[in-house]
């Protein structure tokens, strides 16, 4: 088992999703049990399903100086960076440490593939239309390259693309770089946007629900796909005594199947064990678990069994995907922000959409918002390829 890590301060964080822009908007929606899913109105031939769409992206072009990076995913990244003073916090870190001493590590599953899809719909003599002949947006590093250009971060700049665990794993990579003294701060996060690849792809796998998703409900019918941007700035704990802490993380592989979880949650449990060991905590010291909870039959069955077997009934747990949809490569970052909201605001978000919970985890599942002090919170993220991550956050005084 890994040794405990020295906690890091999360000195700024933000989220933009179907619930709106910024932390306060998300906290209000979660507290009021008010979801953001809507009937699918995305793409030219929309599937009959529900989506978590971010309003206003169509009217929010990138600044002219960043125009080469123009596409839906980078628009969402820019909108997300502009909330909660995140850009100012990044500039302060650059000023303090130097641009090359700040790392940029972002997770995304599809990056700006929506722009490549559009180019194929508008081919001119077999070639991309002129306005889309921009190689930087037709590669999975598009998001990180754009954010590097927008923030002038000049340290390591890495895209992690491990499907739906992508923007959870960014916290782990950042911690290692900071522990070794390669950098003094790291901007981490994730952005994924709605595109035909994921809507029709999950539809082909028969994993898309015709109704708003109902994580952990006995009658759940699959996922609702969403889009989101989430960012967090990590620094050493001594520079921010009051800031919430990243206290641990775990990463693992299922070694089982490309798109189906291991039946006994082997990898999910290994990630949990790893995160607890790095946090130096036991299950009964956890207050809240933000579950992966996609609302597919298999994921929720396996995760419910793990939750019920490993955690005492006083531990509260919920999937927030009923609020935002499954934001895929952005889910790890978005739900890390939800764990930080739970810690900062003192409530457990409800498991929106669930009325008849899986019996295996019925005791732990918070169906509605519950007030209460949250000192330590975990967040689970599991992806295709059997790629798992679990993050642990805590109030500063709980460490």
């Amino acid at each position: 088992m890994p040794a405990p890590i020295r906690p890091l301060a999360v000195t700024a964080y933000t989220a933009t999703s179907a619930l709106g822009r910024g932390v306060a908007t998300h906290a209000q929606a979660l507290h009021a049990n008010r979801g953001g899913l809507r009937p699918n109105d995305f793409s030219s031939a929309p599937l009959q399903c529900f989506i978590g769409r971010v309003d206003g992206l169509e009217d929010a072009p990138l600044p002219q100086a960043l125009g080469d990076w123009e596409c839906r995913n980078n628009r969402l990244a820019w909108l997300g960076l502009d909330q909660d003073g995140l850009l100012d916090a990044v500039q302060a870190a650059i000023g303090r440490y130097g641009a090359d001493r700040v790392a940029l590590i972002l997770g995304t599953s599809t990056a700006s593939i929506g722009a490549s899809e559009e180019a194929y719909r508008r081919l001119e003599d077999g070639r991309f239309p002129r306005d889309l002949q921009r190689p930087g947006i037709h590669t999975p590093h598009s998001l990180t390259a754009f954010v590097a250009a927008a923030t002038a971060i000049a340290g390591p700049a890495l895209t992690i693309s491990t499907a739906c665990s992508s923007s959870a794993k960014v916290f782990a990579s950042a911690e290692r770089m900071m522990r070794l003294g390669l950098v003094d701060a790291a901007l981490v996060g994730g952005v994924d946007t709605l595109c035909d690849s994921v809507l029709f792809g999950f539809n082909a796998l028969e994993l898309v629900s015709p109704e708003p998703c109902r994580p952990f409900d006995a009658l759940r019918k699959g996922i609702s796909i969403g889009e989101a941007a989430a960012f967090a700035l990590l620094q050493r704990a001594d520079v921010a005594p009051e800031a919430p802490r990243l206290i641990g993380y775990g990463e693992s592989s299922d070694a089982h199947h490309m798109s189906t979880p291991h039946p006994h949650g082997r990898g999910a449990r290994a990630a949990l064990d790893d995160a607890l060991a790095r946090s130096g905590l036991r299950e009964d010291q956890i207050d809240y678990v933000n579950l992966h909870g996609t609302a597919t039959l298999k994921n929720d069955e396996v995760e419910a069994a793990m939750l019920g077997e490993r955690f005492p009934s006083r531990v509260r747990a919920s999937s927030t995907k009923g609020f935002t949809g499954h934001t895929l490569g952005a889910a790890g970052g978005l739900e890390a922000v939800f764990a930080l909201i739970a810690i900062g605001r003192g409530f457990v978000p409800g498991n929106l959409g669930c009325t008849q919970p899986e019996s295996a985890c019925a005791q732990q599942l918070a169906l509605q918002c519950e007030e209460g002090e949250i000192r330590v919170a975990l967040s689970n993220s599991f992806g295709f390829g059997g790629n798992n991550a679990c993050l642990a956050f805590a109030r500063a005084e709980a460490v």
Binding site: I94, Y97, Y120, L123, F128, A148, A204, S252
Partner: protein, 287 residues
Amino acid sequence: MPVHLIDITDVGPRTRNAGADAARMDVAICGIGAWLSGAPDWPTLRAILRGENGLRDGAPSKPAAPTLPPAERRRAPEAVLLAAEVAGQACAMAQHDPAALPCVFTSTHGELAITDYMCAVLACAPRELSPTKFHNSVHNAPAGYWTIAAHCVRASNAVTAWHASFGAGLLEAATLAVAEDTPVLFAAYDTASSGPLAEMTRTGRSFGAALVLAPAGDSGSPSITVKPRAGIVFELPPPPGALANLAADNPLNAHALAFLAALAHDASARLTLPAASGLLLDMEVRV
């Protein structure tokens, strides 16, 4: 919305904390794998890099990837075959059980033939998209298939940094090895691009390389010291004539070949590779 652009020339080391000089990392290289059509393993490529041989004629155009189960080998996308081939070679040379190694897989674009397929089908008949092609389209498909075949439940990662993908992946893998005090499997690969996308994502021929890295101290293996520094100017040694086109095709190929060339010769060498648009890795390679 306010624009917060910073002139990149106006940032530098002036404000950094005392004692914050870039850390250096020492790692041993316990195993090496390589594959391209005409040089299907490290000993063959090493001889070419040393100028002793040329590419083999009549070579297979696909990697054999014997570490994958036969059924997977038949239907696997090319990036999966390529990554499994070079990863398997590196683990065998290192005499490490692949199940015990966390891994970092890096690729500029991932499986380009699948991206081309997806975009083409979505443009005309989106409801006919293949579910298998969809789950194989994730950037971590090679890492996923590798961990399944190797029974590896350790952490697996799939990264990219566009034209700095080799250096950024190497930095990530070396950081993991040193921070966690564990051997790490590192694989770098790109497959040939196809369709209209190819004009935007030129990669040339398929090529892959893999290393088993370990915290330094494993005597008898070559080792590298990796030190990041701010900078954009670097110079690559020219590859042997037989590999010049491969290196010109794609920065990942050029950077991997320069690194492997340093390992192929009998003398220690210095080498600088990019790890991000403003970050270089100074490396000392001791053979």
